[in-house]
Symmetry: C2
Subunit: 202 residues, 2 copies
């Protein structure tokens, strides 16, 4: 027997298709929207419906943008000589929160992953190579995650950059213990990497 | 500086208004929708936009319904003589999952809570009293949560039912240790209640 009206079931099913949201969480969200009196469900509904309407990719860095070039690429205060290569637009936000980088970005929209059928041509590697040829940077910082796939992508990228005759320094993010991290909670991989990459105390 | 297009920021802000979803989770959800290629964002957008369109409250039990009466109230296989009083429509789903109750429900849509400015007239108590007067049941099971507010609401309800001359048995859900529960993990309140309400082993 149908215990709930069609509209509620549809909304629960749609929300539970989101990553990390199961049926129970979706139920909770929908019931809280039904209780909500300021029309939040309409606000979210409209925002999601029009989400992709005006979104395109920046022609330079492939970050999400509303115009041909994103605000970061248009910003003349930022150096063109340093390119930080990241996996996703979320990583741009994460990096910007640190205020540690004043160059420009390149968003790959993924990493090479044969198991997920993501090949080099499915991510924005060609765009990066073209960009590097057009306006050669002095340093390319590969800021990809610590996974095996990302590691392989970094090596592939470095190799491709060498093949097109790029003379920029190619670096990657440091690996080591996180700030405030306790040694006994760390996995062996991180710890051995931190040992290998140890720095002189100066 | 605006790091993201307007449409993305709007969607993130709207989603983070949902209970239990912070800015970071909202970011993750929106970026996964942007990556999604089967139009899930439109599906969710439409479902939420039209969520309340055809939803009304059942004129008998106040559960969400598409028509004047909900499927449970229309079901003639279920007894009118037992009414299970619950706080919210979600509790109807929870109760139905147990298959332990074959009577009908009454959804209060809240409990009396002076701190949240919820008074007796803000929840569906009057509807329950009218319903009981019209078709007197033999038992009213108050299935409210274990909070102080719910406890006070139960007492208030029992008192009101007595005042209108209702002769039905008024019961509440048993309190005690949960199935599979370990005694040493239980709080003192639950355990002392389980001691007080102990049953003879037969």
């Amino acid at each position: 027997m149908k215990l709930l009206p069609e509209a509620i079931t549809t909304a629960i099913e749609a929300l539970s298709d989101l990553p990390g949201i199961g049926t129970r969480s979706a139920e909770r969200l929908v019931f809280s929207l039904l209780k909500n009196e300021i029309g939040l469900e309409k606000k979210i509904g409209n925002a999601l419906h029009d989400l992709k309407k005006n979104i395109t990719e920046c022609s330079v860095c492939c970050h999400f943008a509303e115009e041909n070039r994103c605000p970061i690429c248009k910003n003349e205060d930022r150096s063109d000589l340093e390119i930080c290569v990241v996996e996703s637009p979320m990583d741009v936000l994460a990096m910007e929160r640190t205020h540690a980088f004043r160059g420009k970005y390149h968003v790959l929209h993924g990493v090479i992953s044969p198991l997920d059928r993501v090949k080099a041509e499915n991510i924005r590697i060609e765009q990066l190579l073209n960009r590097v040829l057009q306006t050669p940077p002095t340093e390319i910082i590969i800021a990809l995650p610590g996974t095996t796939e990302a590691e392989a992508t970094s090596l592939f990228l470095a190799d491709q950059l060498k093949q097109i005759g790029c003379t920029a320094k190619v670096s990657r993010l440091a690996r080591g213990i996180p700030s405030g991290g306790d040694l006994d909670y760390l996995d062996a991989g991180t710890l051995s990497r931190a040992m290998l990459d140890r720095r002189e105390v100066s």
